[in-house]
Symmetry: C4
Subunit: 282 residues, 4 copies
């Protein structure tokens, strides 16, 4: 017990720095982490560009090792300083932390695992943890609540879009056949979604007259259907706004044009019997 | 009559299981049907992928036969257990049920009818019947009512879009000629709709300067026009929401400017015969 | 004067049939005209499809002559029955009527004027005149008024979009050069509008890294900017709705569920102390 | 001092003409400038079209010299007539004015600087200064305030879209590999944004089944996500409108939680000094 206490103190300090953002050292840690994450994601991107990688391979690798060692130490520190390390290991951020640290080591052990180096880009997700701490997400929560409130309606909407896509995709497969890229029903459905969402790559495009007519119907449908999620979310936002406005200490009061007979002030509530300014009976 | 009664009971039981979803056995039947429909639609999709079909043709065919036989038995059971079988046969779901069961049999009888096997994908539509029963569609009905209320406006909108497409398509046909794929007016109209809905495949694209200028106008039109259906549906949603909110204790009442002859209070309902404040007849 | 009167009567009758839609014969005339316009536009479309034209050239030409003669007679009748023929000739519909009748005659007189046959598709515009008469446009007028109210805002919006396109197009021309199709500033602007409106043909696409980065900015701008016309039109629609509901003398009053002890009527204001119907104290 | 005064007067006059728009000569100057800017931008565009430039090179160059000299004189006049010339030189419009005047001179001094001639198109930005003066921007300011109010939410939205693009782009790079154009992570991210914003060029398109499935998810996400900025901006517009409407007799009053010391009634206005119910001083 005696031994444990000072260690615990040291652990507590570490926990404060790593997991919290209220102390100056905790804030500093978050800012350093934030910058390192951004740099490391940019490094991963640049590495994937062949011409760039060939010229600066050594520099990129050195920087990557520095960052990976930092992230490894951070991962170990997180494990040590928390009370239930296993819970952290299998939590969402625990898995992200592990996956974004391990690929560089693996690429030396396992042949062919170089391909996994791109996984390090998921480090970007770690940014959300930092943002959560520093309470940057005030506005985001409003967006979230609006989306959450309209979740059920959006689910129904996506469900209808998917069924529509399967039906229309099958029809296009029947109409167009193997010509023009409609080689199978799944590919036809892929094309239907490309069209319905108004993306329109053009890698697959109908060639027959009937196919083009059907495509026209799908396009106008997609053009109109987009109004539905927009309508849902907008209605939710408008409602949110209204609730918020009325929320605190500001109330929509019916005010009449009556002037106080004593002080001539205007703007009395409809149900007022005395002037709110001088107390004279109205 | 004596003979009829027990048979009727047996039929009633079958009717309950197949057509309703309130009893445990009815629910079970719906769930089994739901899963089978999903599996069968996935099978139809996989079959249409050549490489997949060549490798697993036998397995796919066996599974398909199992499902088809189940659907055949279900179709017969539906015919037996309902009072007016003919009405069912020619109803929307009756036709869907028949069309999604028959193709596999036909493919053995009629040469060249293999092409119709894709029709089985329409089985997906049967899902709507199940969802209707289990009352999943609570949210959907709200969407439906919003869309129904704005039906007339959306019709006018689509009508204007179509006329615009014909006019613009003809103009583009005159401007671009056979170059760049504007080979006929219908194809030009197809291109106009592709552009107006912002899909933009790029299989046909204007080459001349005048054509590109006109295309620009169409694009900005399409970009702006999309605001119309969105506005219509959103206004409908917002109204729906408001009506619901006001529903409880706050009502929109027609109020006239009449003042009570006794207490001079104002704000009486149009149908009021006495002052709500002092009770004096109005 | 004596000669004039009976002729005037005959003219009046003709005027009624052609220009109005309140009499049975006027309605019939409009319906016949409507059908003929639709048929004639479909004919023009089919003619422009080469394979179709080659096979049925004679039938198409015969039908076209029937319709052209009918339209010619109609044009003459319109000229005769109206008081100020010149005003009609130079009115919007007068010009449309003339332009959609003359091409077939011209194609025999002037060599090379066959290209103008497509102009006949503009006959479609004549439909609007008929719809105006039969008052089909009830819903349309609501759309129109919403659009008219937000006209100024939409103009500013389009103006900003155009300036943005010129600036961004010039930047892309500088960045991409002649590679990848950015051969001149106007073409670059064309590409910018194709991208900003999310149409995205892909006939011109950035190849350099900087160009793709800039394109990304334009896309996200376009994706966000579309919210502006939608917001404008939606706010207008919502307001229209509200105005209609609240229009005259209707106020949002808090009503409770209390029933009058004397007359049992419900719907009293929260602050009511007497029944508004019988005056009994609540 | 004596010498200075009349010069100052002359400078004041010049300042009035150039920087203001309230006097007739100031208005005239603005209109001339407006027309010259439009003409010059059109000239720059036409010059960039090779075929046009080759034919009319001399005319274009002459006109360009006329406009450049006018703009040079204007620039000098602006420098002279303002009190703090340096502040103008380094202001936004000062830099725009300089950049849009200098390229023609530079093209004679520096070899290879012809490429910069396109920079002159940025002269278009100068139009905003003129519009600001003539108060054309009444409607625009309303748009601006709505956008400004929803700035924070739009920032969060764009931020989420960008992170989503990086994650999805990396996934597509892993899934599609070098086939089909996904040669690096930045290019993959470019493709993801092209898809998410529903632009869809089709220069890069997924070829594998898994890639097309993932693309489908991105499309539906993008199709739904567009509802968010629209919802934000629309809610802002609707609120703007409402505030304006409520203006007449119903006012949003700040109410505090203070209770009357005499009758304990709550809901007093912040500026109230007496209870509105009993008249007791607060």
């Amino acid at each position: 017990m005696k031994e444990h206490k000072p260690q615990s103190k040291w652990k507590n300090k570490l926990h404060e720095v790593i997991y919290e953002a209220d102390t100056p050292s905790g804030k500093l840690f978050d800012i350093v982490l934030f910058i390192l994450i951004i740099i490391s994601v940019i490094l991963v991107m640049l590495e994937s560009v062949d011409e760039f990688d060939q010229r600066y391979h050594k520099t990129l690798l050195t920087l990557e090792w520095v960052i990976t060692i930092f992230f490894t130490l951070e991962y170990i520190a997180r494990l040590i300083s928390i009370k239930k390390p296993l819970k952290y290991v299998f939590s969402f951020y625990g898995i992200i932390d592990f996956l974004s640290t391990i690929p560089l080591y693996l690429s030396y052990i396992l042949a062919g695992s170089q391909v996994l180096l791109a996984v390090r880009a998921f480090r970007l997700l770690r940014i959300f943890r930092i943002l959560k701490l520093v309470k940057f997400m005030g506005e985001a929560s409003q967006l979230q609540s609006a989306l959450k409130a309209s979740r059920a309606k959006i689910a129904v909407f996506i469900y209808v879009v998917l069924i529509l896509s399967v039906i229309m995709g099958t029809l296009m497969y029947l109409v167009e056949g193997d010509k023009a890229g409609f080689t199978s029903i799944p590919r036809s459905i892929y094309w239907t979604i490309v069209t319905l969402t108004t993306v329109g790559y053009g890698d697959i495009a109908p060639q027959t007259n009937l196919g083009q007519l059907l495509a026209t119907v799908i396009m106008i449908l997609g053009y109109g259907i987009i109004a539905v999620p927009t309508g849902i979310v907008t209605a939710e936002f408008t409602r949110n706004k209204k609730n918020k406005e009325v929320d605190d200490k500001s109330v929509l009061v019916h005010v009449n044009t009556q002037a106080c007979p004593s002080c001539s002030i205007e703007g009395h509530r409809d149900d007022a019997t005395h002037c709110f300014n001088c107390g004279h009976p109205l």
